[in-house]
Symmetry: D2
Subunit: 421 residues, 4 copies
């Protein structure tokens, strides 16, 4: 390879400079020759192209930055395609948040009824990208950050032959937490990781090869702000912060209902400032407000993958991959989020030899929902949509399903061509 082409789909996102920042830190390792920015929103794309030119210069990146609204051009010959799209934008996200809340259900863009609708809007677009990659960049890697990444990755792996690695910053949370709490460098922290995206559990944490002490465990666990520390200590394994929706449901629903704005509404406002800063032609720094935007750690994970693959360096990473038996109690066709060995041949799941006894049933329940939701999303099948919600531990009741389904379809109808509404 003579220097790589790195394509960003949804490049108008305020997140894009984080990827450049990480490329800057890895410029000795990663000879990125071309960054291709793609978006359907020409205005944001223009702003971001300008900013990225300035930012790359500041970072000392020797790279050609280009922008396009042609998906074919964007994908053609790409070595890596990073997808960070939001179909329907934050406008639809706010609906994902508000509709379930009316029924006192969790309203949230990655799980529950809201997360499912985001999957329904996103999956057809992602399948189109993946199918084009099969032709235009058959050896390239699709690196997905678009949520719900587990469902998106399952859809792409079940329905296309594109190479896809689904990521979430959650895969390195224990490293981040151990660093923050104990000052331990990433390389010394190891752990077992079992589950799905946003539905996973971390066990057997070691520092430099030895098991953490109880005190260290507690300090690391305390970094997980979203789940009660006493609960984590009881579990003995650390749940993903997203388990808050499951273990503290009513409390979180009450908090949401009391909040003046949803997260989506907050982000919408925040983005005004952020884009204003990006558009300022004298500015070549990431806007301060960006830190409040979330997503920290993803660029690190994504570029870690690029390094492992491009430079053929054996690296353990948490990736969303087809199960095929790695997690014995889940179907072979399921996408799971587990530890993998990554190198130039791609990723291979480590076998999960020890299933934590206190949480596998919940993982199974959510995977059951996910598989039905993926099929509903691809087939545009309202019956499967209902079955998916019935299978979801945060919905489950028929009374909810009956009312939610027409409302959710109506609120998303312009983004659901597969349902022929």
């Amino acid at each position: 390879m003579e220097g790589m082409k790195f394509t960003i789909v949804g490049a108008g996102s305020s997140y894009t400079p984080e990827l450049l920042d990480e490329m800057g830190m890895r410029k000795e390792q990663l000879p990125v020759k071309e960054i291709m920015l793609y978006d359907i929103d020409e205005k944001r794309l223009g702003i971001m192209e300008g900013f990225c030119q300035r930012f790359a210069k500041k970072l000392g990146l020797d790279v050609e930055i280009r922008a396009t609204t042609s998906l074919d051009k964007a994908l053609y010959g790409a070595d890596f395609v990073d997808t960070q799209i939001r179909v329907g934008g934050n406008k639809q996200r706010v609906k994902d948040e508000k509709i379930p809340l009316r029924y006192n259900l969790v309203g949230q863009e990655t799980t529950g009824a809201g997360g499912m609708m985001k999957a329904f809007r996103t999956i057809p677009v992602m399948l189109e990208i993946a199918e084009k990659m099969e032709e235009l960049s058959p050896n390239g890697w699709l690196i997905n950050y678009t949520n719900p990444t587990g469902l998106v990755t399952e859809a792409v792996t079940r329905y296309t032959n594109a190479n896809i690695a689904g990521f979430c910053s959650g895969g390195i949370f224990p490293k981040m937490w151990a660093k923050r709490a104990l000052g331990i460098p990433y390389e010394q922290v190891q752990y077992d990781y079992m589950g799905l995206n946003h539905m996973n559990f971390i066990s057997n944490i070691t520092i430099d090869g030895r098991p953490v002490t109880e005190a260290e465990f507690e300090k690391i666990a305390a970094q997980n702000d979203d789940v009660d520390l006493e609960l984590i200590k009881l579990l003995g394994v650390i749940p993903s912060p997203y388990l808050q929706w499951y273990y503290h449901t009513n409390e979180k629903v009450a908090m949401f209902k009391a909040a003046p704005k949803t997260r989506g509404e907050y982000v919408q406002e925040l983005e005004k400032d952020v884009y204003a800063a990006y558009a300022d032609e004298t500015n070549c720094e990431k806007p301060k407000a960006l830190a409040k935007r979330g997503g920290g750690g993803y660029s690190e994970v994504a570029m870690g993958f690029v390094n492992a693959v491009y430079n053929n360096v054996d690296t353990k990473m948490v990736v969303n991959v087809p199960n095929k038996g790695a997690v014995s109690f889940l179907p072979d066709s399921a996408v799971v989020e587990v530890g993998c060995l990554v190198n130039k041949t791609g990723m291979q799941p480590l076998h999960v030899t020890e299933v934590p006894s206190m949480c596998w049933g919940l993982v199974a329940a959510v995977k059951n929902y996910e598989q039905l939701a993926v099929e509903a999303a691809v087939e545009g099948d309202v019956r499967k949509m209902k079955l998916a919600l019935l299978a979801h531990p945060l919905v489950r009741q028929w009374e909810y399903v009956e009312k939610l389904v027409p409302e959710l379809l109506e609120a998303n109808k312009e983004y659901l061509p597969q349902f022929h509404l």
Copy 2:
């Protein structure tokens, strides 16, 4: 065998005559020579012994009926030991019902927090019975009807070597429904049955070998009063009536809260009349009120098992048995409720070749709860008790668990020796 000894543990129960009734219907098949009634409640035992003598005579049963308060005598040399005990009586049942309800949770004697407490009270007693049988009637069969039968059977199979078959009338519900709705005799109705006790799903129903029509399916499904017919039609498989607690949770909780009495309180009152009738020495008929008592079908199932075993007749029956791979997504050590082949060698599970795609995750979630609850019950382990409730789809939230646990332990403390409270 020279005529069998049939022991009833908990024989003071108002249900006992149902077993005799079924023996009467099968008297040509089953040479029951001795019925041994055992109970710790001498008064009820006395009443029931008297009634059973009269009732057996009326049924034309050529059988010796005896009563004892010695468990050893009861079990010694028994061919079959039917267990139908209620540790703590309906007094404790009412607590199982009321405590969860205070938190707007399902309060119910077979599942949820209430069902777990019933398991905690029952399992130590059942293990004692099973361990005694290992010595006193090593070739005998323990036929369990005591709820929660899935947890009881799992405890006995994991912690003893006694022969146990756990039953529930639910195994023949589709036959009962098809008969009621369509007039089809039992022998012509076949179906696949997958899941756990009170957490199971019926699929592929056939009548005389041919799949039921959509109209027939609907008529059969409509007999399941407790789950919405539209929901069943959507599922395409028939859930156990106990799925009402999962699919109609809020509705049922509201109904319970509005009810003047709990089921336990109702039964307590009902039993006054029932026992008065049993005590009447001129009476040799089952009291009319007994029909309202529930449990219909169990005696039929239990005696069907006795016939299959005693007479070595290949018979397909639904039994609670150790999984060992029969249901691929559940642990080998789990007890599952599935179709089995029964004959004199006992029962062997049919392999579940087709897992219904819309409900396996919920089954897994409940099994995860069950295994933790069984271990908590046997070990008297409060941490596992909390983990069990966290794993239970009807509880799950930490806020509930924190509050429920001390209250439940306090309310049951005289029946939980293993917890050393």
Copy 3:
């Protein structure tokens, strides 16, 4: 059903009257209204039609017997289609026996290189029958007796949607042995059965529900003439008689080489007398020589299946069925020979909960061969043919494979259209 149509494919076979004999014994149970005899050999078909008419009369069967050389007519509307064909006849069988023997390898019509060639000749014809049944008798059952029945059944189940049950008299051998050795009636003998056709092992034998004694085990085992009794006692499980080719290979090869005739040649001679007897219009008795022809027990098994299905009687039987997880160490797609529950819905495998520790590897090795052989047979793929022989424990060596393959293809070329030789 108003009386059944029973079709025999390969009805010219001398075995046909055994089926009628069994129908005679079951005439109260089984209202066979029409027996349709089909063969491509008009002469044998004519002889057999005549004999069957006389024989049925003698047996008191109230049945219409017809003969046809039209496969479509034979299959149309059939309730049961019994297949007992021999593609290429005993002429080809003799080649199956002799060619491997030249290399000091087992030459035998059901396993080894010879058995594979029989599969290659047979499978295309069986697929044609099964495909026609999908249209002409979609609810009918194909009952296969044609060897190698495991491979034939796997081919039909993997490549068609016909209902097929593959049988072998081996499924009832332990019953036959216990009866002969100990005078125990069939109904009292139960056992676990694990493996493949002609590659299976019997364990946990019980008589009337109790485990056999060591002395009884030995007497039963001694009925298996073909495997050394000391070896069986060491194993502790009873291997199929066909395990002689595996455990006594050299001895059997030496015996074959010393024999004046192969089994196929012997049968060819025997059949002259048998058909002469059948052709004698004054004769309405099965020829005495038929007893030497082999196959005893199959008609019993086949009609036992017909009874279980037709009359919807739960019956435990050994059947060749798709594995789908019933035998955990074999692929889901494999056909296995295991205990099943049979009734009007067909057969469901019992889960094999206990894999005998001393023989599962050999079963796996032979199944690996079988799956490759089935694919070679269907696809006409010489590479897979070689891989199949390399995987076969009785061949395995490359030096054999290189030499055998061209010779076997040449010797069978007129019966292998799929290979385009």
Copy 4:
């Protein structure tokens, strides 16, 4: 860690300097502070201690070298314990080679009847070492090179809690072959590896992430001298060279029978020269004859493991590890030889997602033998010894087993305390 203690058990072996040589090459990475040489043969130990002192100096290793005949001292506080023992020496090896050959069976020290006897002699000694390590160096790693490494590792993992990693140079053969044939550096060569020690198959070879061409495959495969190239091309996967005993059995047996000496006899002679060279106090070079001794690559593998663990570097390596589901068709308790991720937490097997269709049955058959042999070795059980040989594809026939067993036991009786002969 302040520099490591590296213990070599069986240090009198002529192989020992290879380990030092590799330490020399890795001296920047690996701060070995102490090399502890242990052997029961004082003479060889003395020679080797002297040579190692000289050799280490020449290599510029800053290390303390000590020798002991006390196993406790050797193991105490060791970070790594390398085991390379030969119980009974080459004297017994020659018997392993010659006895089976008398029956025209493969006589070989790692598989067949000979390999089993080596396992029987070795396993009790290895269990003693492992049990001592549980106490004396509980965090240390046992790195085993002693053959048959698969059986030894399975015995240690099933019967002790010591940390053991079983190795064979075979794990890097494809890298060695690709380097030799095509000049490709190790880091660029990746492949899937499935099976057992000396019973494994390599598939999906890539060079720098892209699949090898057919021509490259052929050149790499041609480096495997022991298996016919045409056969490898047919298989499409590369078998271990040890598959020669399975795919070319008769040819190899004939070759052995024709050879003037067995491999053991040859090595015995060779070692005279080798030890003379080691004993020469003026010599500080590895003797030339050592290259003919075999074992090339093992020191590289062993020190690669030490590096991955000691320095906590994610590294893909082939290791013998407990299966626990990584290879779906083998028992959980089996030790398998598969790709693993190694770092300071030890090794975790990669899940084998794609089982090669042409060879899994043979792997299963050999694993069945191995598990029976391990149990026979530990329990000293003659029945299991016979079952192991019956399960072995290279023995299998009862006639062989009956004759071999008394002869093998007699020839090894002084080394089989567990059999109480």
